[in-house]
């Protein structure tokens, strides 16, 4: 399979030389040997359908398509708006429509995960992935009215071979429902990882996500949360550490359409050696999202003179009565903090490790499952 992809597009293009309008990914001679994510734990009360065709999966979004089709009418768009929003992708994802083309071409089956209305599933659904060769998978998660569910996606491999892992996930959080999604990526250092996510949250629903990006050679992660319903909310926490020549490319979009929606995102990470990171974060307040609030915070620690850190935090606003905020702090360890630590008998190298660890642990400790949390902890021990 050969596909030239343009992924993680910025919702409103800017200067070309900044190289932040999106990333090109050339998939060459790819053949997928296996499903990327396999179900390893299904708690009681969860409905699981594997191997569903893309056509069958589309039916779940028919009603949503109807809602989506009426949106954007007569709405002024930001300068440099990309046409992918609302047109080629009715249910928008972070990576965009080219990822859909890849999934379609791979002919992989869709895994559908859901539960009954009002069900509170205490135990997490666990999907595990990674291994030899290349993998692809597509998930559809639906949390019905009043239900709550946690889904863990654990991608791990020790393979030193070049490979591709492509994972596409769409979700629907219905009225007053709750979904917590945990994505942990600790793939081998020759793997290219494509992780696409997009979904909708309806009235009173809440979406939470914990994401840890630690492995792979190149990782592209796109997240789009559409807060369609009134009083819907989302919280995304991402932690990452890139070293060597690792390349991480993130695209986060919170599309706020309902009244009194609330989005919050924290991106916290460490770059060292010759690592490169691009981060695009967009709060997109659409017309009608009155009294909505949005906040995104980025905290990046740079530990080598050869790192490249590109950041572009957008606030797009077509509604007057909203409150959007972005804050970023990019730099090295503060001399004051290092001095403080040294004055307490902790040498510079140890102090550095403590500070890196503290940053990443602040996200990792949100992983609800002990076994995975410990695995991440051991991985970080070795990496740091």
């Amino acid at each position: 399979m050969n596909i030239d992809m343009q992924v993680n597009k910025l919702p409103a293009r800017t200067y070309r030389w900044l190289k932040l309008n999106g990333e090109k990914v050339a998939v060459k001679d790819a053949s997928f040997d296996r499903t990327s994510l396999r179900v390893s734990n299904i708690p009681t009360g969860v409905t699981l359908v594997e191997g569903m065709s893309l056509e069958e999966s589309d039916e779940f979004f028919e009603d949503l398509h109807k809602i989506c089709e009426s949106r954007d009418a007569d709405e002024a768009l930001p300068n440099g708006d990309n046409d992918h929003a609302g047109k080629s992708q009715l249910v928008r994802t972070g990576m965009g429509s080219d990822m859909d083309r890849l999934i379609e071409a791979s002919e992989c089956g869709v895994t559908y995960i859901s539960c009954g209305e009002g069900c509170e599933i205490a135990e997490p659904v666990v999907l595990s992935g990674g291994g030899d060769g290349s993998g692809v998978s597509s998930q559809l998660i639906r949390v019905p009215k009043g239900a709550s569910m946690t889904v863990i996606m654990d991608m791990y491999s020790q393979s030193e071979d070049q490979a591709l892992e492509a994972v596409s996930t769409r979700f629907l959080v219905e009225k007053d429902a709750f979904l917590k999604l945990v994505k942990v990526q600790m793939l081998g250092r020759q793997v290219t990882y494509l992780s696409d996510l997009g979904g909708m949250v309806l009235d009173g629903g809440r979406f939470e996500m914990v994401e840890m990006e630690l492995g792979a050679s190149k990782s592209y992660s796109g997240i789009c949360v559409n807060l369609m319903g009134d009083h819907s909310s989302s919280l995304v926490n991402t932690g990452y550490m890139a070293s060597g020549k690792q390349f991480y490319d993130f695209n986060y979009i919170a599309e706020q359409r309902g009244v009194k929606t609330d989005s919050e995102a924290v991106f916290r990470g460490v770059l060292t050696d010759k690592a490169t990171k691009n981060w695009r974060g967009s709060l997109d307040f659409r017309k009608g999202s009155k009294k909505s609030v949005g906040d995104e915070q980025e905290d990046t620690l740079l530990l080598s003179p050869e790192v490249i850190n590109r950041t572009i935090p957008l606030i797009l606003c077509g509604e007057e009565d909203v409150d959007g905020h972005h804050g970023a702090s990019i730099g090295q360890l503060s001399d004051d903090m290092l001095f403080y630590m040294e004055s307490r008998g902790i040498d510079k190298e140890e102090a550095r490790k403590i500070m890196i660890r503290a940053r990443l642990d602040s996200i990792a400790r949100m992983i609800p499952e002990g076994k995975l949390r410990n695995h991440v902890s051991r991985y970080l021990d070795e990496a740091i």
Binding site: S304, L314, H326, I330
Partner: protein, 471 residues
């Protein structure tokens, strides 16, 4: 808060700028519309360009024809380049006394208050009408310090020709973007300023640009060199009457701030709402130099305006303070760019944006910290205020950091006028509309306090007029 009150907010009061003067063939020369080799050669001949400049113009035209339009930013479909006349000038020569300037042109600048400002508070004035300067003067005591302030055409061929040739379009090369190439091909008018080593010009110099002709373009070139340890405040003002056809402004500003020098460049842009303002400004700052931009964008139909600073020397710094007020029918895409190359360089970007009545205000910026810029610091703050729900306000700030020794902080906020703040002021006996005007004035205060007093007063008056609905 009543919706009616919000709707009463009207466009900026343009009456003092929106007056037209008839331009007849007897007194004015107008080049035909479009951008062809023949037209460029005509302009070059008219201006008695040296050979190198003529060849440069033609190369730029080739580049312009080959280059793409940007695929980002506001829509420019309403700008038909085949209808824009690149060169319109009065048949009268440039004068050094207002009394000698043709009566109709002098009246225009009188209405804009330029001669009065020169008498009261400026060290020198250049006044451009359409494509050429019609008046240029610098006070004797400033000239006596060795300060050179002249029209650009004279500079290209006169005493400073070598200095001009060495710097002209080196900071903004014609390959930079399509409209930089266009500027290189058709530039006309503008100013050249040289401040010698150690000279501190106590009161500002000002250039005022007036585009009176319908369907014309203005392409002035400003080159300022502030030599070692020198200090200058330069003010640029722009206005035009409103026509039903598009006008184009594609000027270019190149600023060199030498070692330990300081330059403050203030712009009050109030072009009419049929203007496409595609202007390019760039500063190069050497060791210990300081570049300060103060920018107020009130006019234009469409703006692409991002003054750029290259902090080349160690310990050089820049500060950008800007306000953009986008009203009905306006799409103002403004901001700043900075590149840190030197060690211990610092930049501060502080912008305010107000959108109302369907206007689109976009803050767009870039901060680049290269590997050589160890210990660089950058602080960016952009606040936007939306006055109604039919407007748009977007912030698009890019950052590219390539050293671990940098310290970058960024804050952005978008919001509306707080009901609590209005309620508080009303509970102290202030009327609702006055309370709203006070809050907007307070929002703009960090910018207005950086402006020269006369401009700050004018800006605050405009805000009050707007908020009272009497504009």
């Amino acid at each position: 808060m009543s919706e009616d009150l919000k709707k009463s907010v009207s466009d900026i009061n343009q009456s003092m700028y929106d007056f037209k003067d008839e331009e007849n063939e007897q007194d004015f020369y107008r080049e035909k519309a479009g951008f062809t080799r023949e037209i460029i050669e005509n302009i070059s001949r008219e201006k008695k360009d040296p050979d190198w400049m003529r060849e440069f113009r033609l190369k730029c035209l080739d580049l312009y024809n080959k280059m793409d339009m940007p695929d980002w930013g506001p829509d420019t479909d309403g700008l038909d380049m085949d209808l824009i006349s690149s060169y319109v000038r009065s048949k009268s020569d440039m004068k050094g006394k207002w009394d000698e300037v043709p009566e109709d042109i002098k009246n225009t600048f009188e209405k804009l208050g330029i001669p009065q400002a020169e008498r009261e508070s400026l060290a020198g004035v250049g006044a451009q009408y359409d494509s050429e300067l019609v008046y240029h003067n610098v006070k004797d005591e400033v000239a006596a310090q060795g300060v050179v302030y002249t029209d650009f055409e004279s500079a290209v061929t006169g005493e400073y020709a070598d200095m001009v040739r060495e710097h002209f379009m080196k900071l903004v090369p014609p390959t930079d973007h399509k409209y930089a190439a266009l500027h290189g091909a058709v530039w006309s008018g503008g100013s050249f300023v040289y401040v010698p080593k150690g000279v501190k010009v106590e009161i500002p110099l000002q250039s005022y640009f007036r585009l009176n002709a319908a369907g014309a373009g203005q392409f002035e070139h400003t080159l300022i060199i502030v030599d070692e340890g020198a200090d200058l405040h330069f003010i640029e003002g722009c206005s035009a009457p409103k026509y039903n056809v598009a006008n184009l402004h594609a000027g270019c500003v190149e600023l060199y701030v030498r070692k330990n020098a300081r330059l403050r460049y203030s712009t009050i842009e109030n072009w009419s709402k049929n203007m496409y303002n595609l202007n390019t400004k760039r500063a190069y700052v050497e060791e210990g130099g300081v570049m300060e931009w103060v920018s107020g964008s009130f006019g234009s139909h469409t703006s692409y305006l991002y003054p750029m600073t290259i902090l080349q020397g160690d310990r050089s710094r820049m500060e950008y303070t800007g306000i953009t007020f986008a009203g009905g029918g306006q799409n103002l895409d403004t901001g700043a760019k900075v590149v840190h190359n030197g060690k211990y360089t610092s930049s501060i970007i502080n912008t305010k944006s107000i959108s109302k009545d369907g206007g689109i205000g976009t803050y767009r910026s870039s901060v680049t910290i290269n590997a050589s810029a160890q210990h660089a610091k950058s602080s960016i703050s952009c606040d936007s205020l939306m006055l109604d729900s039919i407007s748009r306000s977007d912030t698009i700030p890019g950052m590219d950091i390539r050293t671990n020794d940098a310290d970058v902080g960024h804050e952005a906020k978008i919001g509306r006028i707080s009901d609590d703040a209005v309620f508080y002021l009303m509970s102290r006996g202030i009327k609702e509309e006055d309370a709203r005007a006070m809050i907007v004035s307070g929002f703009a205060d960090p910018v207005s306090k950086e402006l020269p007093l006369e401009y700050a007063v004018e800006m605050n008056n405009l805000i009050k007029l707007e908020m009272s609905g009497n504009g």
